[in-house]
Amino acid sequence: MRSAETLNGAVRRLLAITALAMMACTTPTIDAAAPPYDPTALTAGLLYHWPTGRTLDIHVLGGGASPLLDATVRTAASRWTSALAFREHTLRLVDRPEQADILVRDAAIGMPVDTAGCGGARWTESFASTLFCPAGDTARTLSLVNTPGGHAKVLITIDLAGVGNPTDLLPIVVHEIGHALGIGGHSSDPADVMFAAPAVPSPSPADARTLRYVLHRRPHLTL
């Protein structure tokens, strides 16, 4: 009899503890933090990014003729994918330009898309630039010059001949993809890949935090 009472008491205590635990349920939390640098400094406050959760397809124009650029873009895409905390985007390379969301070209290749009338956002660093054409709250599709169809909205141009040293290429490509993902600003810290003259080959924690901040704000412009 005494054992039964003890057990009933134990059950009652467990019920009460579980109820309290449920009511005091504090979700595991990541603190909000201001981005280490302003991600809209180059866009006059305009916040832009792709729809979150989307797989972004990247095509390297003339990649077959430039295996170095192709391999570098592949590495850069992988570095940004790894830097994201919630799989906001998966970046992958595709074989055809009409499949791509983001086009990458060597400056030696002729302009592959029609940019006439595009008064858009363009960041030009040494040896590289990123371009998209705002149209209201979205960006215009960049029509391919030599191929019908396509839905690319961002064009990255890399001056391979100007870069010279192949080891300098990866920081530049990672930097430009950072712009293509939504970081419309530059860091003042040389340890960040979004520093204006990038020297590191991967997004730093500050870069990742800045992109995470951008991706979870409602954008003024959705790519």
């Binding site: 039964a4 400094a41 994201l84 979870h216």
Partner: protein, 218 residues
């Protein structure tokens, strides 16, 4: 320009409401339990096996101050368990339970999926017949939760986490022989902090509600 600081959102209204409802249920059950006379000390049953299946729903795994919530969606679970009577109205139970659900993410801008989360737990507890129609259960569990290893909180330990927690609920028989019953169970499991992760995750609790059907095999 200095960007505005993000803000940690309070738990959603729905979650709070569910938790309060569950708390009320537990308090009521505890009251029933107190009102019952003590059971006799004679064991009443041999080992009995049971299977159970149903659906579970959990509170967020992670709440990011930037406005991101990661949670398991509604998903199925399957349990195999055994119980043995230890007093006339009290049984000891133990079992294995597996569940799976899509890992769903939501932020101010959109919602998306990021693979699947799975959990396998071992649990043990007590069941007490508090009224002829309702049995209360309470117990402890240890679980291994896994998910995509590129998504917080599964980026540590190659996508697998160990957790422990408590569960409590009610079993309501639906047939005359009491072999089939509806189960409603709430649990709270602890997720440890991940201080070495970037971004750093503060520990907390994850609530889960399960509704299922149990069938005693013999």
């Amino acid at each position: 320009m200095t960007a505005p600081r993000g803000k940690i959102m309070s738990p959603t209204y729905g979650t709070v409401r569910q938790t309060l409802k569950f708390g009320s249920l537990l308090v009521a059950l505890a009251g029933e339990l107190r009102a019952q006379p003590a059971a006799s000390a004679a064991p009443t049953a041999a080992l009995s096996w049971m299977v159970e299946g149903g659906a579970s729903y959990s509170t967020p795994f992670v709440e990011d101050g930037n406005g991101v919530f990661a949670r398991a969606g509604v998903g199925p679970y399957l349990r195999i368990g055994a119980s043995r009577g230890i007093f006339s109205r009290t049984r000891a139970t133990a079992g294995l339970r597996a569940d799976a659900a899509a890992l769903r993410l939501r932020s101010s801008a959109s919602a998306w999926r990021a693979g699947t989360t799975r959990r396998l737990d071992v649990h043990a507890g007590l069941e007490v017949d508090v009224t002829p129609r309702v049995t209360a259960l309470a117990g402890l569990l240890g679980a291994r939760a896994s998910g995509p290893d590129d998504v917080i909180p599964f980026r540590t330990h190659r996508g697998a986490l160990w957790t422990w927690g408590m569960e409590a609920g009610a079993v309501i028989p639906v047939d005359r022989r009491r072999r089939t019953a509806i189960t409603v169970v709430g649990e709270a499991t602890r997720m440890a902090a991940q201080p070495s992760e970037n971004p750093r995750l503060a520990g907390g609790a994850i609530g889960r509600v399960r509704i299922g059907v149990r069938h005693a095999l013999r």
